[in-house]
Symmetry: C2
DNA sequence: CTGAAAGCGCTAACAT
DNA sequence: ATGTTAGCGCTTTCAG
């Protein structure tokens, strides 16, 4: 039988209240008694019962982590790493993470994650793009929510977001400073806020460098972001017959697909075309040549999100705070300098 | 304020005990009262409190899922899929899955997952290879345990295992029936039980087909299984200068590394060398040619493991049961027929 | 077949 | 500064 607070109290010769107060550091307990209590706890190998604690405190000690099936099952563990980040952080706090996936295309009649229905979480983390229907449905539960790598700008949620604009601006600047003037931009899923931000970063950078913007260099597909759409986008760009020496893809998957197309058509990378992606996924390194990219600190994002949740939960900072995590440009062999600007 | 069992009792005009019995289907409650109760529950939107329930039942309603950092972070979501399988199954039962990672090289002084220390799980699922030190340490807690894709044969745990031997036998047979007589076997981490089983499957198949076994065709590296070790193993095989028309690698990662080496040395696949891996990971399809492999039903394995846990937990089937999940040979372009046997 | 009541382990007033 | 005590919401004997 596991020892209870009573056992501790008995052994330490104090009341259960004292033990409780002592453990939770709440009241001003004498140092001496605290030491006595701690010794008893140690001797007994005592650990507070979660359910008893939760019962009286009316909390669950759980945080729900929600993402879509598609995002969880993807080959590249982008969201998996974010999840792990929240898990790492949760270890330092009295919380557990409960994971649930929802259908990628969540519909009105779909059921919400069980931990919502059962009221087993004190707050939820939502990672990646989810449908508006889902968001609306879940919001009726009034749970503290932190979104990760996604948000609808018109809604006011706390969120941890990637510096999409800054990232692509960096990439664009790097290309420009290496002599590239005709830089194509390949994307898909253009209704995705992140994609719009990345596109925006591209435009801003051109502007700042007084480089004319050309619609001809933009390929925006209506499909899902993937290696295939990257391939298709490159094909489309190629068909247009415009001049370009560099390509920015809205993420690594598309960049890799694009590289594939260029190689198939006999174009040399980076001799003829420089290319930069976004995300920094592991297979970038295995490309030939290794793909340059914008690196996103995934583990950190998860940790940030969890910390934000704790703030909301404990310090009652309910003011829809947004954290923008910085990104880093990683230049590898897929980028070549054409002519240095002074 | 969430409704409690009291509210339900009041509304249904019965006692709380009746509500409880009714919900849990335990006693023979009249159909009528049961209906009354159910109506009240529905009207109130009542849901039993987990913590209250757990407190009295002295269970936690949680199952811990443990795997190593390395396995969780791997590019290929092998264990991630298994995890998702357990999660899928847990949804149908009154349990939540708590995930924790441990250091790949767990040492004596490393701390066990928090949910173990805090007694917040009723049982644990352990996926993939973990150190003996870890296993020994965790076993002192006497928690019901189900191992997945790994076990020490001398210990007696319930486990869900892959049919490693059968899988490689199938692959070997397929190669033989396509005219291959000199089949090399590439592996690493030979102390891993799964690898030994795969190796065994290879030998058995040769024997059954009366094909002489040659040490020269076996490359067993002392390193970790990876693309790199696959590359190295192929190199070593090549150095030996022995004749072979086919290669079985102990998993897909190694197979891909081996293909890389063969291609670099100008060997044609499958014209000169046929190759088969093991695992069925997504990138197999993106190889050139697409890699043949043994497919492992990862989601199923997770579900099986969870079900086994439920059996142990609820039906008290404590007899170290093992489930061997079947695998499937998937032949793709990396295998060529040399000459058909009649 | 149903109700009364004890108690699971803990926290937080309220006393002392 | 510490002890007493009343619950938190639920399950489960034990009576009736």
């Amino acid at each position: 039988m596991r020892p209870t607070i009573k056992d501790v109290a008995r052994l330490a010769n104090v009341s259960t209240a004292t033990v409780s107060l002592s453990i939770n550091g709440h009241a001003r307990i004498t140092k001496e008694t605290k030491i006595k209590v701690e010794k008893a706890i140690k001797d007994l190998g005592y650990f507070p019962s979660r359910s008893a604690r939760d019962l009286v405190s009316r909390k669950t000690g759980n945080i729900g982590f929600i993402l879509t099936d598609g995002h969880f099952l993807k080959t590249e563990p982008f969201y998996t790493q974010i999840f792990l980040g929240t898990e790492f952080e949760a270890r330092k706090h009295p919380y557990y993470i409960l994971l649930a996936t929802i259908p990628t295309n969540f519909k009105e009649e779909d059921e919400l994650p069980r931990f919502i229905l059962e009221n087993s979480v004190d707050g939820i983390l939502i990672a990646g793009r989810v449908s508006k229907i889902f968001l609306k449905k879940i919001m009726t539960y009034g749970l503290p929510t932190v979104m990760i790598d996604f948000h609808y700008s018109e809604k006011n949620h706390s969120a941890v977001l990637i510096d999409n604009m800054g990232g692509v601006s960096k990439a664009t600047n790097a290309l420009i400073s290496r002599g590239h003037n005709n830089i194509a931009f390949l994307c898909a899923e253009h209704e995705h806020p992140s994609i719009q931000e990345r596109y925006h970063g591209y435009k801003i950078a051109l502007e700042k460098n007084s480089i004319p913007f050309s619609e001809q260099l933009i390929v925006s597909l209506d499909t899902i972001i993937s290696t295939e759409s990257g391939y298709d986008a490159a094909k489309e760009l190629n068909k247009r017959g415009v001049d370009f020496s560099a390509v920015i893809a809205c993420n690594d998957a598309m960049a890799i697909g694009a590289m594939q197309f260029f190689k198939e058509t006999g174009k040399q990378i980076p001799e003829e075309i420089s290319i930069i992606g976004f995300d920094d996924i592991e297979i970038d390194l295995y490309q030939d040549p290794p793909l340059s990219t914008i690196s996103v600190p995934k583990i950190d994002m998860g940790q940030d999100a969890f910390q934000l949740m704790i703030e909301i939960l404990e310090k009652r900072i309910n003011n829809h705070k947004k954290i923008i995590v910085p990104v880093e440009l990683i230049l590898r062999d897929s980028v070549k300098t054409i002519s240095k600007l002074s």
